[in-house]
Assembly symmetry: C2
């Protein structure tokens, strides 16, 4: 696969498999199709999402034993993270980061909480280069107009960029694939790209073959109901293959393609999402200037408003809990009166009494669990906000030109007759 001396190229595949056993349509047939495709195409790196059943993963593993001898399934949460990676190159190390926020357990029909959404990392060697490969799946967006999971997804995107940034310092190249459940211009997506310097295969390549505007959830896919996509009639782009090089290695996207809703000779497509394939080329180079970890500053206005929501929910839970407690005390008081006035008749029908008591206890238990849960949510949101503030503070310090290492300032002289500008638009 080496095109010339020292240059290597990798083909990366990413697909949200929609693999809910017994619920997703044609699940076993689609897995068979996916297995056939992968063993035929022999991509270097295969990043799969929503492989909810470990059995399906093990079947794939068996089928791909020759084409992709190395693989890893990331376990997390109640059901699993659904993340899997297959690789032609040996996987040297893996690491999983579970997002601190991921939906609500009582929204069982959405199921995200039970999945334990996470980002999985695998360290592989391609020739002499170390590649950190990430696969992730963020919280689904069920309704764009009234998206109650927006704070969760933004915090997930924040944690994703942090995880990638902090774990990739030793890597020559970084490859990220997965279903981000975010449109290209969504806040979380901008946060991710701005802070990590990751580039979008679709935007970087001159050689694209696939759906209009790179869409990965399209109206032409028979598994997609047209209603879900409103107001984006043709479809949306929410799956990505992102990449970046390092000070030691340049990375380019030579070509990129997506499936287009239907597959020749097959009655249905691989999944409800389209599959992505990117051909990435890596070239070692001598460092000339520090990497492109440009950070943008206008990104942190997002979480403050979310904190309100979570603390209001917790407040409601507390209030309901207190009402339940008051009711229980009232009932006990009513029961205590005839017990104290010995011999008096019990004024309360016995059945209603027990039912009411059971109701009170149920309210108390539920509100207690909710209180705990919302407290955890609030803590995660506050934690993300603190970290954002810190990042902005550190950046402002840099911009103000305090005695911190400033990679760009040494290369450039200030224009004559002018004070050195503290604000550098390129940073």
């Amino acid at each position: 696969q080496n095109n010339n001396f020292n240059t290597a190229s990798v083909r990366v595949f990413s697909l949200n498999c929609w693999g809910i056993r017994y619920l997703s349509k044609h699940c076993p047939q689609r897995y068979a199709m996916i297995g056939d495709l992968l063993s035929k195409e022999e991509h270097d790196i295969v990043l799969l999402q929503e492989v909810w059943s470990e059995k399906d993963f093990l079947n794939l593993k068996k089928k791909l034993a020759c084409s992709h001898p190395h693989c890893h399934y990331f376990k997390s949460g109640v059901i699993g993270s659904g993340l899997a990676i297959f690789c032609k190159h040996r996987i040297h190390d893996t690491f999983l980061y579970r997002y601190s926020l991921n939906g609500y357990p009582y929204m069982a029909h959405h199921g995200d909480w039970f999945g334990g959404k996470a980002v999985g990392m695998a360290v592989i060697k391609i020739g002499s280069m170390t590649a950190n490969v990430y696969v992730t799946h963020l919280h689904a967006e069920y309704c764009r107009e009234k998206d109650s999971y927006l704070p969760h997804r933004v915090v997930q995107a924040w944690e994703l960029q942090q995880f990638i940034r902090h774990t990739s310092a030793g890597a020559d190249v970084v490859i990220v694939g997965g279903d981000l459940n975010m449109h290209p211009q969504d806040l979380g997506n901008r946060l991710l790209r701005a802070y990590t310097g990751l580039r979008d295969s679709y935007l970087e390549t001159a050689n694209f073959d696939g759906c209009e505007d790179g869409m990965t959830l399209i109206a032409d896919n028979p598994f997609i109901s047209k209603k879900e996509l409103v107001p984006f009639e043709k479809g949306i782009r929410i799956d990505y293959i992102l990449f970046k090089g390092s000070s030691k290695t340049d990375m380019h996207c030579d070509s990129m393609s997506t499936t287009k809703g239907s597959i020749p000779d097959h009655p249905f497509p691989y999944s409800d999402h389209e599959a992505l394939t990117a051909e990435l080329r890596m070239e070692p180079h001598t460092p000339t200037e520090p990497g492109h970890d440009k950070k943008s500053m206008d990104q942190d206005s997002g979480t403050l408003m979310f904190l309100c929501g979570a603390s209001m929910m917790r407040y409601t839970a507390t209030r309901t809990g207190i009402m339940g407690l008051a009711l229980l005390f009232l009932e006990l008081a009513i029961a205590a009166v005839p017990w104290l006035a010995l011999g008096a008749e019990q004024p309360f029908p016995r059945t209603s009494f027990y039912l009411l008591a059971a109701l009170c206890c149920a309210i108390l238990l539920t509100t207690f669990l909710l209180y705990i849960f919302y407290t955890m949510e609030l803590k995660s949101l506050q934690g993300a906000e603190d970290q954002m503030r810190l990042a902005v503070g550190s950046l402002q310090e840099k911009l103000r030109g305090f005695p911190l290492p400033q990679p760009y300032s040494t290369h450039r002289k200030p224009p004559e007759g002018q004070e050195p500008s503290a604000f550098d638009p390129e940073e």
Copy 2:
């Protein structure tokens, strides 16, 4: 603080503050003492654990505004992680990794689950050097003989080493402080040191002043009940300051000290744990050979037996749940008989009927929650085991001498008349 050209030294402080408001003895007075100590001593880096209340953190922050202008409180779980860092140098970035296993919510009197134990990271610059500073607190050991939390602590130690290893590639030096709740020779501790190459200040310094054997939980501390320490009459060493340099920087521990149970002019000590102070010296150097990331292979036999325990617990929960369900059906059947045979008398006393129904529902709910919880526990254990297998596999490959980069082999010639040995004892 720079001793000579390019050499820097940092004083690091670590203390488990035992800061449970209203429950820990003399909590406000002890915080005042800790604040006084810190503002007087002006350590470069202060790592605190068990600062359970954010208010106490904010009070400390106010008090240390001059001596330690930069600080961060790590939020996590229901109560918080209890982790805080105060620093003379600007904190550029922080990141929190929550351990996937951390006790049981129903063991409320142990409280670990509610704390959301984690490892916090802060990136700071000391002169021109980047230091990654970690603060953590692992699950408590309540009974060494029958330690039901052992698997949790081992998985936490595994995740800690992974987190440190993967996030510290870009750092010149690494500093870790905290209450590991593990003795020096415990499996988790060996895992941590073997995989990261971290060195123990206490073992590395020639200049130690403190309790015998570096103990940090000692019988002489008035907050410690002698019973807790049995069979270690004098005390145990469970708090650590660990460090390592990098290919660019050497790191040494010049001196180390601990408090000794009582403080002159004060009626009681700072906490039930002893405080640690280490003076670390950093020297930039030109890389001569790759770092000392020696890995030992005999460490992964630990989790397999833990998996049994967790799956047995889940099995018990399932069985109890099924019994609850059966009981509920039985009751409904008994109730249905007179309802079907119209006019027949209800044979069941109404009150007992409702009580029994409530009991069944409670059993079902509880076992359902437990089932979910144990499934998550099992997944985390399996995940850690998979990662350990992978690490061992990658290592075995290396030892076998497959075409992987072998840092040592190029420097050395095989002895004459002998085949190049595939087994390199130094790797």
